[in-house]
């Protein structure tokens, strides 16, 4: 048996939100008493998270709404830096966090592909090279030249999924976005995710659809109140997840 090779390792990770709660009053205190008052109050979203996910694994995160799953994914994709602790990633990450984000209604499909790819950090040359592939995968045909405001919701999802998936990531983060498009496209997305997985990528999956999780993932973690409470097989975690809703 080959040794498990870590792909993601979180050590004692704390993530805080910084909110200001007292409105303009706190601004006054902050300005009048320098050093005494903090402008922003800290509140913990994730506390003391330790987690290791291995290469080639499909890993699910289960937990109630607001338990910190999405924040965890944001931290893994680099959008949030942890306040304490360490996140180690041993490969390129592609986050599928919000489909349709960055799509501009007035621009055409093609223009949107170029814009979204640029926002994801791709250079002009890379975009030019990938463009036909994205158009092809989206199966939008002629509609790719339409303004996105004339797209149906499903068509928009097709477009954004095709863009997001294009980089052949080593780590794929999926936040409840697979239930998009019609049945045909859903299956295609799922197939694509499986294909990426079979190529050796690591997948982290957030979903409330237990059946989907059970089909795709081998291991899971239960996230509750900002901590990882339990890590185990999908079945074990699923049971504990259901217990959360017992009373």
């Amino acid at each position: 048996m080959t040794a498990l090779q870590p792909m993601i390792r979180l050590t004692d990770v704390d993530i805080c939100f910084y909110v200001q709660e007292n409105g303009f009053v706190s601004m006054k205190d902050f300005l009048l008493h320098p050093g005494k008052y903090k402008l922003l109050q800290k509140s913990f979203v994730l506390k003391n998270v330790n987690l290791q996910i291995n290469k080639g694994e499909s890993f699910a995160l289960l937990g109630k709404n607001g338990s910190g799953k999405s924040t965890l994914l944001r931290a893994l994709s680099g959008i949030i830096t942890p306040d304490k602790g360490n996140i180690e990633l041993f490969g390129a990450v592609a986050p599928l966090l919000g489909l349709g984000v960055g799509l501009e209604q007035e621009l055409t499909g093609i223009e949107n592909i170029k814009l979204s790819c640029a926002l994801m950090g791709m250079t002009k040359a890379e975009i030019k090279q990938r463009l036909p592939e994205i158009i092809d995968f989206s199966e939008l045909g002629e509609a790719i030249h339409w303004q996105v405001k004339r797209f149906s919701t499903g068509m928009m999802s097709r477009l954004s999924f095709s863009i997001a998936i294009i980089k052949q990531p080593e780590i794929l983060l999926i936040d409840e976005v697979l239930s998009v498009g019609d049945l045909g496209f859903q299956q295609k997305c799922l197939k694509k995710v499986m294909e990426i997985k079979d190529n050796g990528a690591t997948i982290i999956f957030v979903s409330h659809n237990f059946e989907e999780v059970n089909n795709m993932c081998s291991r899971a973690a239960l996230v509750n109140n900002g901590t990882v409470e339990f890590v185990g097989t999908v079945k074990e975690v699923g049971e504990r997840y259901h217990h959360l809703f017992d009373n």
């Binding site: 944001r74 621009l107 994801m120």
Partner: protein, 256 residues
Amino acid sequence: MTKSPLFNKGFQNAVLSLALKTIKLRYKNSFLGVFWSMLNPLIFLTILIIVFKQINHIEHFALYALTGLIFWNFISASILQVLTSFIDNAAILKSINLHPFCFPLSAMVAAVFNLLLTLIPFFVIMFYLGYDLSWSFLAFFPITIITAIFVLGLGMLMGTINVYFRDIQLLWTTIIPAFFYFTPIAYTPELLSENQRFLLKLNPFYYFIESYHDIFYRSAMPSYENFGMSLLLAILSMAFGYVAFNKYRKGFISNI
């Protein structure tokens, strides 16, 4: 994270693409395009000529007023665009791993590009109003870069605070008309007494608008005072703006 994102090819492309999007959207569905950006200064120019010409006994007052109006519009509009750039791009900020400096920077790039676009037809009008083209025109480029840095810094400073206190946006739109009359656009500084002129020079916008007056109205290089103060203000503004942005951007996601 300490390394500046400015040297990253992907980041540069992201900034340019966002700026290009802003420009495209501004003109896409409007038939008259650039004309709309020109209309506002032209209407104001008419008002200024009718109302203020009697008190301003200078040659080519229309050229003086138009120069002030074009660049005042550029400065005041682009500060607002930079200021709101974080909030405008909230969705992207929350779900794409992109350095948030991209948003104010692309707003600034779009504003400069828009200025250059409208300047072309404005030149025709300026020549008609008596503009005397000279080599000092070349000072337009460094002055505009300095102005852009000043605007970017100030806009980022206010934009960062605005994420936490949305009052800033309203405050700014409320006081900007006051600054219009505090800046020599509708009148020349010579019209004022010594004491009043001293007050005028406490207004940072004074030096930028006067630098443009030097170039386009007086057909001269900007004076040492105007150029030096503009440069100093730009450096200070950028320093304060970037430090505030960098210190408080960790809370952007939880407050937007």
